[in-house]
Symmetry: none
Subunit: 136 residues, 2 copies
Amino acid sequence: MSEDATGASAEAAFDALGDPVRRRIMELLGGGERPAGAVAEALGTLFAGRGGISQPAVSQHLKVLREAGLVTVRAEGTRRFYGVDADGLALVQLWLERFADGFAGPLDALETELARGKRERRLAERPHERRRRGAA
Amino acid sequence: MSEDATGASAEAAFDALGDPVRRRIMELLGGGERPAGAVAEALGTLFAGRGGISQPAVSQHLKVLREAGLVTVRAEGTRRFYGVDADGLALVQLWLERFADGFAGPLDALETELARGKRERRLAERPHERRRRGAA
DNA sequence: TCCTAATATAAGTTGCTACTTATATTAGGA
DNA sequence: TCCTAATATAAGTAGCAACTTATATTAGGA
């Protein structure tokens, strides 16, 4: 399957981008890296009309985007800076390009290439992972 | 508002593409125009594992795709031929291109990854090179 | 060491949406 | 005209996913 350990795939990316709140998050991060708290605050005002949005809700959205490979995280002190992950967006772009001309069929091989590169990178530098007691 | 009379917008397009069944429909139609019945039949077998899918269900999905501007319809007798609407896909492309500013765009990222993957593989195939495999 | 700030997770609720079956519509053939 | 084929719509249901509040985790400062 064209998927790496993060679960990144065109499927996951489209599923994640299917939610309007998450699209707003992506647009925010498109303006540059931001700590989770800033994202939550921005969305709070942005969606003030619809009753606002809580910090946990935003945290959960960020998790979905993370697992879809659409954003990156960088820990700095107690803050976590989120940014756009071009790799995830590339998977979407790739899916769209299949419609450009004759439609060549599944491009699983290419998606595998993306996943591979990402895996290698993760092994090199792992961004501060939260661990639960007794977790291996 | 960047919206035409059909209600087409990047928002509607992403919402529509957020569903895996609809993505399969798009991929099918990418192979060329098909009457609704053929789409329903193809999906029936494709999702046979998950209990199949009914004709009304497919008809409803086609409606969503239509309203999102992602497919076109052409009536011929009692049949309705559905095809990919490039305009709807263009709206998605457009949204993605907003992220191309500042850092390397999706396409550049992809090409970088492809190059990297090939390099990694070359190294892996060298008999004397020791590489750790699949630590995940 | 205790307190606070920043974020993530747990657990439970609810509304939306993708489904179902049943029926309406429409075109063409006998 | 009546019948059938192809598709769309109606109406109702069930499951999931996006929310909520409450709490846990972790880093850093006083």
